[in-house]
Point group: C2
Chain length 469, copies 2
């Protein structure tokens, strides 16, 4: 159990000795660091610190351990489940000043970065070497944050998620010890897989201070295809069929007709306003052409009314920029609204049914709730556009979300495909993991016995909730 600690001046002055003017207690800065991009209630930390190197992080952790001060690592604040809310106050550790690309190693296809580097900054650097880092959650998130939440996104269908693309981490533990989770070898059978344990641990087991990531050569050729379907289930079935046939698509993104309308308005596109799949293909000129033809033929089999390709970089960029802005384009459909974004992921064979049953739930209400999804992974999002002043809308959306999660778990899926747990999803962990939740809690206790690392989240919040249920 965490002991909520009132931050007294002793710890503040100790931290100031380490960080000097890089420790802030200003109200504006605290507020900005207690708020993510979600509908969840913001909770401000007592202090915000900006470390510049691993040694500082270790010194900070030692001081916070001595004083039982909660520590919440912070990337760019783009998370969606209240991950960075200071449930018990304490110190927000903003990693944005640790933003150096330490070494690009084209011959090893890896790169070592500090956690504050964002994925766009990394890709700008990698492009100079003919390389790229594929994981793309939409937001220009920090790589430390992406590892901490096991981020994935539009290209995971081809390249995997952060789970598959983190080679090794440097982590500062709660007591200030510094560890390296693995060597730089591409594979290893030496000891427990600490890398994967920290990937997805959301700052509850340690602070990531350095990452070594896999990189990939920029594909020789890329192209995109826009396939418009009369109905959602045809679009979804087309993609699951593409995956089952092993066609190595690089992206396979569903947008329903509401989202297509929204991105048309925002980005000046003229896409047919029906359920649509955006495909992308990476490879040699020949394989890209081959894959695109196979997919086009399949799409027509599944009833696609139009299949248009985008081979120029300009067209593709425009398309994917529109896709990335879909969240904001959606919010713009209802000015002043706040989004509640769901995030279940199910085995492919259940995806069409899961989406259809969810849509039936939505259709029984007056809520505006467009759907998009990384359907090649079995993952989709409903974005409820809510009037922040109307608690009834929020309650209704939350009820539908709870039904979605229960349905997904019953179908062999998960409550979170990629957004993580934070405190927003903690209520679902017991149902999803059963006894395994206690194993997770035992690991948390072994690595952070004082419970100072991002308290009130993940297993801790889940067990609290199930005790009070």
């Amino acid at each position: 159990m965490v002991v909520p600690v009132a931050v007294d001046s002793a710890i503040a002055s100790e931290l100031r000795a380490i960080l000097d003017e890089r420790l802030s207690v200003s109200g504006a800065e605290r507020a900005a660091h207690g708020r993510d991009e979600s509908y969840h209630r913001p909770m401000s930390p007592d202090m915000v610190g900006y470390p510049e190197n691993t040694g500082e992080v270790a010194a900070i952790m030692r001081a916070c351990t001595r004083t039982l001060t909660p520590v919440i690592p912070f990337g760019t604040g783009s998370s969606l489940e209240g991950h960075i809310a200071a449930v018990h106050g304490g110190l927000c550790l903003d990693m944005s000043r640790m933003n150096r690309v330490i070494e690009v190693r084209p011959a090893d296809l890896d790169v070592t970065v500090q956690p504050g580097v964002t994925r766009e900054a990394l890709n700008k650097e990698l492009a100079k070497h003919g390389l790229f880092f594929p994981i793309d959650p939409g937001a220009d998130a920090s790589l430390g944050g992406m590892a901490a939440t096991r981020a994935s996104g539009t290209t995971t269908v081809r390249y995997g998620s952060m789970r598959e693309n983190v080679v090794s981490l440097e982590v500062v533990l709660g007591d200030g010890r510094i560890i390296r989770t693995a060597s730089r070898a591409r594979k290893s059978s030496s000891g427990y897989d600490l890398t994967r344990l920290f990937v997805g641990s959301e700052g509850t087991l340690g602070v990531i201070t350095e990452l070594t990531l896999r990189t990939y050569g920029l594909p020789e050729a890329m192209s995109a295809a826009v396939c418009s379907f009369p109905a959602l289930d045809q679009a979804v079935s087309c993609v699951t069929s593409v995956i089952q046939l092993g066609i190595p698509v690089a992206r396979a993104e569903l947008l329903d007709e509401i989202y297509i309308d929204a991105v048309n308005r925002r980005s000046g596109l003229e896409l047919k306003t029906t359920p649509t799949i955006l495909f992308e293909f990476h490879g040699s000129e020949g394989s890209v052409k081959h894959d695109a033809e196979e997919v086009a033929a399949l799409a027509r089999e599944f009833g696609a009314e139009s299949v248009e390709s985008a081979t120029t970089q300009q067209d593709r960029n425009r398309l994917w920029r529109a896709r990335h802005e879909a969240y904001y384009a959606g919010l713009a459909l209802r000015p002043g609204s706040k989004g509640l974004v769901t995030d279940v992921c199910v085995p492919l064979s259940n995806l069409a049914r899961c989406i259809a049953e969810t849509k039936a739930d939505i259709d029984k209400t007056n809520l505006v709730a467009p759907i998009l999804g990384h359907v090649g992974d079995g993952n989709f999002h409903v974005c409820f556009l809510l009037d922040p002043a109307r608690d009834d809308e929020l309650a209704l959306a939350q009820a539908i979300n709870r039904r979605m999660v229960a349905r997904a778990i019953e179908m062999g899926g998960t409550c979170s495909g990629e957004h993580g747990v934070g405190y927003g999803k903690a209520e679902f962990l017991a149902a999803e993991h059963g006894e395994a939740l206690n194993v997770m809690a035992a690991i948390k206790k072994a690595l952070d016995p004082l419970g100072i690392l991002n308290p009130g989240k993940m297993t801790e919040a889940a067990l609290d909730l199930s005790r009070h249920a």
Copy 2:
């Protein structure tokens, strides 16, 4: 610390109540279960049990917890680092009777199996559905054992290792609790990655009783190419270049001239006796042709003297069967010899140098020590062919292995690419992992506080050794 427990008749009769005639204390059976395929000293368990379902395993674990009886899970005994040696006696849990393929789900591209199913048996079943499971460590190992040792092998360069291909596990913990590590979703951000924690844990954290694995559609086309090089470093550099260019080879296996000679003799092949790379290509007809041409051109650039392709299934089978039997073919070069097989893995850019420096060490001795490797992963094996009666040969081989491991770690690599730790590699964990070894030990203590699960291995052995160093 484990307490070595003399197995008294009380626990034996308790286990007999669960297993009936499936509990054995015969000398021959005990001996067969204390011995793997390595040069390490065999150590027999006191009893061998053959559970038939998860409930039995849970009951057994509860009994063994009460009596502090060590439990050693056993697959097929093909491990190479003394993983299954009964260092403190106890019960060997032979999982071979839990060998049912529970469900093949072509639409989800996954399959659920019991741990005693071997990879060849699984592939026979999957082929009926047009699917295959790619991980291929050479031996016809059990899938439970392969997960427990984080196995990889010849196809990892394309498909990853067990790390990437286990979707979910059912595990019985030391105290008999049964957990499921994850849902069947292809990705998830819900909680700590228990799946990856148990993959590679070598029976020290729990007993795997069920696995859900990814499967892949059988490729439309496959072909192989045999590239013979004048020298080892040209062969290795060719492969690292193939990987750096992102050509998606399915296999890229090095055999040095001694191994080529050995497999020619054993398998009646007539390969040129020079360092050789065996490539395999999977994909569509067009992409396989394209990839093979690119690789052939590169091989010639790197000095290959001949590039021969094998496109018929018969030729390919012959080639890969020969490759798989290389270990035994090598041993046959020196009749009566025992193999000491090394297993380092380094970042690609250091591989050629690592092999060259290792070869220089070997050349200073009279030892016969052919080299083969999964060089696309940076992983290679030296197989020292030792006269079991000559301790001086063993000591010399061990000294070279220690130098290899130190060199690999210094180059950013690992002491074990795929064979695991057991007790044979425990001495290297402290050097490779530093402080992280204590984190691994904390996890072991949290999940197996009594230390009854495969005691005397991995972190426990490593910390014992460093305390006595």
